[in-house]
Amino acid sequence: MSAVTTHPQESPATVNALEVRGLVKHYPGVKALDGVDLVVKQNEVLGLAGENGAGKSTLLKALVGLVRPDAGEIWVRGEKVRLRSVVDAADHGIGMVFQEQSLVPNLTAAENIVLGSEGAGVRRGVYRWDTMRRLAQEQLDKIGSHIDPLARTDSLSFAERQMVEIAKVLRIEERTSHPPVIILDEPTSVLESAEIETLFTQVRRLREFASVVFVSHRLDEVLDVCDRVSVLRGGQSVGEVPTAGAEPADLHRMMIGSTGSDDHYHDGLAERSDEPARPRLVVKNLSGRTFRDVDLEVHAGEIVGIVGVHGSGREDVCRALFGAEPTLAGEVTLDGEKLDLSGTRGAVASGVGYVPAERKIEGMVGPMSVADNMMLTKQKARCTGPMVVPKKQATLVDTWIERLSIRTPHRGTQIGRLSGGNQQKVVLARWLVAGDIRLLLLDHPTRGLDIGARSEVYRLMRELANSGVATVLLADSLEEAIGMSDRIIVMNDGRATKEVSCPSGGKPTPLDLVKEMV
């Protein structure tokens, strides 16, 4: 290969921090990586964009030794390497924040931060808690986090845990004398705007002495924080763009290989009938452990967003409406009938659907097939009498795989092997297969979805709404809430404090909402 001979390793000044050539990785039925090339220069922030399943995580995992590529080469600072493990990668100065959170919940934040490279924190196998705390504090200070290092990780909020992850990966700095390469796989998908800002400050600080690879499905973020963006499609590199002057639409075009629509909230599809429909969902004085006296009405065909900061109680309201969180008082009716909230069964039977935020734990059953996951709730749809009819199931599942363009080798593939976005589509499809859904509760339904998939989910939501489904949406971002909702309820400290009308054409700005939220 000529690239090897022309590799500029002789001139250290221009040597690349990381270079990937022709990386190939097969999974049964999938070519996750199909000859990917990638260059990460010294002191740059490289964005990595691509649809769900494009191979981003696989590529990055190869860079930290978690995935053994079938072919191809990885060069670190002009030196060809073989990465066998995370430790190996760390020794070469490469560290990663994983897409799915990877902290040990029952250890302290400090232990998680130093895990695997305790250094002076452990001497001869004995813990030195003070040192460990100090080491962790140093890392937390770097990112300006005020988390108590000795707090148990499972007592922290999602966003705080994400900060711990970032603090943890920054320990790479202590490990090598070389400028490190730090990989962030969708670090912002669970953060709020203020936290995202902190993170970006940190990423910019990192650029001073390190290289960063940054993955996000929010293309505006990518353009904001990165110097250059490399785009993957179907396991292949399709090009690079400098971010200066680039538009999200340009990136999107490269990602999908054709022109995408600009109106990805599909506002045009929104149909508002003017006849005053009877409200479908009526919630009166609902109280639970973390919320109190919540009133809420959702009409058939309406999308109602609930916004609020962490701890506002909106997730619990959502779970309560599905019978997955105990309520202390209040009344909930669906189309005038009292909803049985003593467990999830009652809600499901009444035509309520719920898509949880923690997809991996609560949304899907990893080792089961796409088909089984899709049919888990609406068993009747694949049965004749008490019997499952494989033919019926196959047709139904394949239809929905196609309708939602779920990228899976086969309906029998384990869902755990799909990319995050495709997993989410299967979870959504679960509520749609029977066509009897009346109320859909969506908790962060687009978390981790690429822009195309997200757009499809939005269109799906619109079409469901148009066919009469009432939707409660806990959006991933304020923009999404505004873009999708007909009305927005603001929650604060467990109470619904404000209702903002949000009709097509008369949308509030994010700032308007933020004012109400704090």
């Binding site: 999938v30 494009a54 949304g363 059953v365 888990l376 363009s405 080798p409 029998g412 749609l432 066509g435």
Partner: protein, 335 residues
Amino acid sequence: MSTPVIADPVANPAAEPAVVTGAPTAAQRVTSFMPVIALVALLAALTIADPDFLTQRSLTAAVRTSAPLVVLAAGATLVVLCGGIDLSIAALCSLSTVFFAMWLPDLGGLTILAVVAAAGAIGAVQGIAHVVLRIPSFVVTLGGMSIFSAIALVISDAGPIRVIDRDATAWLNLYVAGYVPMSFFVAVLVVAVVSLVIKLTPLESFVRATGYSESAARLAGTPVDAVKVAAFTVSGACAGLAAVMLASRNFSGSPTMADNLLLPAVAAIVVGGTAITGGHGSLWRSLTGALVVTLLRVGLPIVGVPSAWEQILYGAIIVAAVALTLDRSKVLIIK
């Protein structure tokens, strides 16, 4: 309410041709046959140790012997598939032998049904305690184990009760087609019926989803609690049926009769390759596992392995058998 209309998706430019099917690969097929391979290997080894072991009479005796264990293990497999464990099966089986012996004079031919129903009901009570009180099944059934033993001791006045009327269970001692002991036939029938019911209905997804990820199953609206209670009920009923087999074989019921079958039954489940963590496995695997365990229990001493070495070999072989049968692609973390 009609199915929402969804437009055709935009053409999928990077879609790779889907050549893959959901059918198991050759390697997966082999792993699902591993329990049988382990069984055959063990049989071969025993035959080499003592050529007389491989006779029709000897094999018939072995499968006849295994029947209660097969039934016990098959029932408990359901609980294990749901992610729990049932430690009470053996004690419940002992208690059921006492029931059987006590009720037989009054109920006659109906006793079998009555015992199976009673044991099923007791299993259901444990299942309900487990899902309502939210205590781990390990604890509930550990408690159940000692409670059932105590009840059995008290009602039997701490002694065996003779079964005088052997007619009610005489059919269990017949042979199907001249060679297959009826009790084993019944055991296989139970495995087949339960397996089929599960396989052909949504129960399979319910059970596996509950075992792999209970919280996801619950949030998908799966009747997790009902499935668990049902699993415990079947497990209890199977303990009752095993008790009928044991009592008919021993011509008596006794408060400690089956107590020692707990670990062999659980070993049978695991040797069959069912994941003790739930989700993955099957009743067929447990059937094979029970045969392996039975062969080890009776085969080693019969071919002349001395007592101390018998235990050492037993230990080594069950570990080796599990190493062979466990399908690790379905069980990511081995605890």
